[in-house]
Symmetry: C2
Subunit: 585 residues, 2 copies
């Protein structure tokens, strides 16, 4: 099969996994929606070694069709489904961490599920398998973690449904999770995503060979229904862009594969292949059971509900979304982040730019982009030596050591790194683009991917002692909103900006009649500047006055001459740079 | 049933339509992909009266599940599927137009389709119904139009698959179409949309009751498969936003309806209802046949292919897209427009802002938004009296009568309307927002909805004698691109702009040290101006020089004093407004 016919989701036949271990829990498990399972078996794999104090365990949670085989154990082993994220030297480094990955409750790869023999009847559960939830899945994982003697997980990591499990772990067993890494996930499915699941289950459950879930001893299997559910799932995991790239050119040239499904169109033969392959390795009842658990997962549809649901968490977070993911749109990840910041929980967030769709969290290219964020969150990166800029010196000298600081437009996080050197404090950076988020996180500082034109992350009032707006004012159109929000979430704001009222600029304009062009990093032509706002010091002071904002301190500089300008010496004319400390009244 | 359970697509049981007429064509129809149909019956309805010279006929083309009943014939009649667009006094006004709407080839509402008796066997065609195309559908409509004695259609109007038919009519029978109105359509499906069709057909064709298409005499019907295809279709017709609005609040509260499908979740019971209803009024083979025709429709995947395919058209166009339509994304409509403008065909285009998704073209709210565009395109609107602005006088006096003009940032089209008064010429406006597009079209001038930051519509070189950029320069960040493009598609550009080098502004800045605030419509504060660029006359002249653009003529005004400023009198200081005629070298 050519690459086109490889799924990003591991396409494997259901051959036995060589390194799977099985844990048996004979005590009954009470289920959240009622009922019990009399005993549980869990299939799991581990990677790396547990350290002496058992503090280096990382739990990986898989999505609908994954299993315990997250990575290969040796060169001869089959590749795992998250091979490029987990392994020796990889972002989740099995040379440092003891990685645990188990097949989830309801699954069909070794852990108790609908195809398991019900001890009370001696036959597979089938339709009698109870309705399970993500909470039940996590309770089973908890038993395994306890069995392994681990009191606290260094991290729980999962994408999609795996992200739901991570969220559930952090809120259900808050003392046992140090870090939660949530990729391409949400507090609950969109109604659209839920509707696709409904259609998939209808395809399975109305397949006459489903026999109301009791097909195990009939010789039948709801091949058609399960394959159709899988085809549908596949479309939702990809983006429209990536499907176009893959199937537009040879649209009318299907592959000639052996299948009972329609083979017209290249995408048709691809879907037929994916559907058929899936049937060879997955159980229809498991598909129904697991998707129902996912559909019932609900940490809330409103900000208030999400805040309530996440309040119990004690971990720090890394949340990652994928720009072209329409099944779990980035806005849903952002909503999680908003709840976390509202709760003053430590969180880093990044939206990975990709056309990989929901599958992004599994794609090597996207893992290359977000891998450094995971590595940094786990504290595995040597911090860079921060750039020591004079412009930052001026801000640092205004901030008492130990202050909490939010840096809006933090760039690579150098200012925050230098504040960090002075001692531990709550420090958060905000900027756009993955490399800036990664660079800031490399300093061990949380960073949040956020376009300031859309507002600040949702911190509660006075979360920070200082909000820094350094060389950022001129690119944000909505200055009033920026200042208002900054003085809400911070007790004070430090605003550093270039003075467009500087005398050489005024002279240039007055004498030459050309729109002034500032020096240094503001030196753009009028027709290509990325700047949106061009205030003088007086303009900013006037705005503060209008907004009832107190200017507590003001420092003015002429950097071209390397001198400080006294307040009495007409800084609006003579200073090219200003640093103001602002406070709301 | 509550409103929630009403589809925008008319949910009707398959009761006979009272006003349907049937045309019988005994001559065989040759099909594009091979084979023939020995004879054809067409079910159709007409509204209004054909005028003396038979010039007022409008053909309405329906989408997958529509039929000939586009609107009610009288008060006692059932509502039609496009009730608010078509009818007395409506945008397609049956008091003025003779409206024809026929069930399409392959359908199951009266026109020949898979359920029709094959005269050679005396049994329904079933699986023997040949593979049909949109071209074949149009050929059948052509027979009907010929039968009605109509040589030229005033317009062909259709959304989705109906849009495909419209495109096909215009290119296949170019002399017979005066205007093509294409809503929520494309040159071909995206691979994603095609994939959804594949899954839907697989659900139908693997339903054991499908009997390989020969279910008519079995007493069976592939209820499950067809319902599942319909559920899936429904999700793709709605937007994620509208599904959230409808189903998020009461997510876990399904309705208790009688169905064999899953009833969990509010959206689940909705889909089950929609699926079951559809089965009562639609034939599974028709669904397969019609979706296959849609999937095979292909006017090209590249700009060059689309240009080639549309080259034969002789009509003028109205293309409308819907912002939240992800099945036929606005970019696909834009690609059609790009091919049309490349071919110098007359086209108006608008993207309707809606969360209605693909269904937008059927929704009353969205019809209210786009109805005026249809009305204007059909020439049914009394033109407004244009505003006669002094700023426009200055531009008009520079343009010789009979010149073709593209107005970038045309607003409500007053300048174009005044040029129009001087005689017929090719006039096109470009702006954003539906009301501006509608207002410009009301003047009988084509208007194209286009964000100039993303570039100009794709006209070929020197399409226009003049490109007008009036009071627009200051809001477009990429000025170089705007000028380059304008001087490519136009022989000359006329640029009118406010001079930020005007002396009162300079004085304000030099003396007060405040960023200058221009008068009139440019009078914003530095922190809230929508303007992006603030050039002086000298700045613009410098840029022209750098870009090798010739300034053929320049006129300067001080509008605050109501005088013209001579070129020798330092206009950069003394003029507040400039009008330049530019030409590429």
């Amino acid at each position: 099969m050519s690459h086109d016919f490889q799924s990003t989701d591991s396409v494997r036949t259901a051959k036995p996994l060589r390194h799977v271990q099985t844990a048996v829990f004979p005590t009954p498990l009470s289920l959240r929606l009622g009922g019990t399972l009399p005993s549980i078996e869990v299939a799991y794999e581990t990677y790396g070694a547990l350290n002496q104090d058992r503090s280096n365990a990382v739990l990986i949670c898989h999505a609908i069709s994954g299993d315990s085989h997250v990575s290969r154990h040796d060169e001869n082993d089959d590749p795992g489904w998250w091979e490029t994220l987990v392994g020796p030297g990889r972002p989740v480094d099995t040379d440092r961490y003891f990685v645990i990955s188990s097949n989830l409750l309801g699954g069909c790869r070794g852990t108790t599920g609908p195809s398991t023999i019900d001890p009370s009847t001696g036959a597979p559960y089938g339709r009698d398998f109870p309705l399970i939830t993500v909470e039940d899945m996590v309770d089973v994982q908890k038993r395994l973690v306890d069995l392994l003697g681990i009191r606290r997980l260094r991290a729980v990591v999962g994408g999609s449904l795996g992200g739901h499990q991570t969220l559930c772990w952090a809120t259900r067993y808050p003392e046992q999770v140090q870090t939660g890494v949530v990729l391409g996930s949400s507090s609950r499915l969109t109604s659209q995503a839920l509707a696709f699941d409904v259609v998939g289950r209808n395809a399975i459950q109305t397949d006459p060979k489903f026999h109301d879930g009791q097909y195990y001893d009939t010789g039948d299997f709801p091949h058609m229904g399960l394959a159709i559910a899988r085809m549908l799932g596949h479309i939702t995991y990809l983006s429209s862009e990536s499907m176009s790239k893959r199937f537009d050119v040879n649209r009318h040239e299907p592959r000639d594969i052996a299948t009972q499904f329609e083979k017209r169109f290249s995408v048709g033969s691809y879907l037929a292949y994916q559907g058929d392959q899936f049937v060879g390795r997955f159980d229809a009842n498991s598909y129904v059971s697991i998707t129902l658990a996912m559909d019932h997962f609900d940490l809330g549809g409103t900000h208030e509900e999400r805040v309530r649901a996440l309040r119990s968490a004690r971990c720090d977070w890394l949340v990652i979304s994928f720009s072209s993911d329409w099944l779990f749109p980035p806005a849903q990840s952002w909503n999680l982040v908003a709840a976390m910041t509202s709760l003053d929980q430590d969180v880093s967030y990044c939206e990975i730019q990709t056309d990989g769709g929901h599958d992004g969290f599994l794609l090597p290219d996207d893992i290359e982009a977000y891998g450094p964020l995971v590595r940094a969150k786990l504290g595995d990166m040597r911090p860079r030596t921060p750039d020591r800029r004079k412009s930052d010196d001026r801000i640092i000298e205004l901030i008492p050591p130990g202050s909490s600081v939010l840096d809006l437009g933090c760039g690579e996080g150098d200012l925050l790194a230098r504040l960090r050197e002075r001692g531990e404090a709550r420090l958060v950076g905000v900027d756009v683009s993955t490399p800036l988020i990664a660079a800031t996180m490399q300093h061990g500082v949380d960073a949040i991917d956020c376009d300031l034109n859309l507002g600040l992350p949702q911190f509660h009032d006075s979360t920070f002692d200082y909000v820094v707006i350094s060389s950022t004012l001129q690119v944000v159109p909505n200055i009033e909103q920026l200042l208002t929000d900054s003085l809400r979430v911070g007790k004070r704001a430090i605003v550093s900006f270039a003075n467009f009222g500087y005398e050489t600029l005024r002279t240039m304009f007055a004498r030459e009649g050309r729109v002034p062009k500032a020096p240094g990093s503001y030196a753009f032509e009028w027709y290509d500047t990325p700047n949106r706002r061009f205030p003088s010091i007086q303009d900013v002071l006037d705005l503060c006055d209008k907004m009832n904002v107190t200017v507590e301190d003001a420092r003015y500089y002429d950097d071209s001459k390397g001198i400080r300008i006294a307040e009495s010496d007409d800084p609006n004319l003579k200073a090219d740079t200003a640093v103001l400390i602002l406070r709301g009244r």
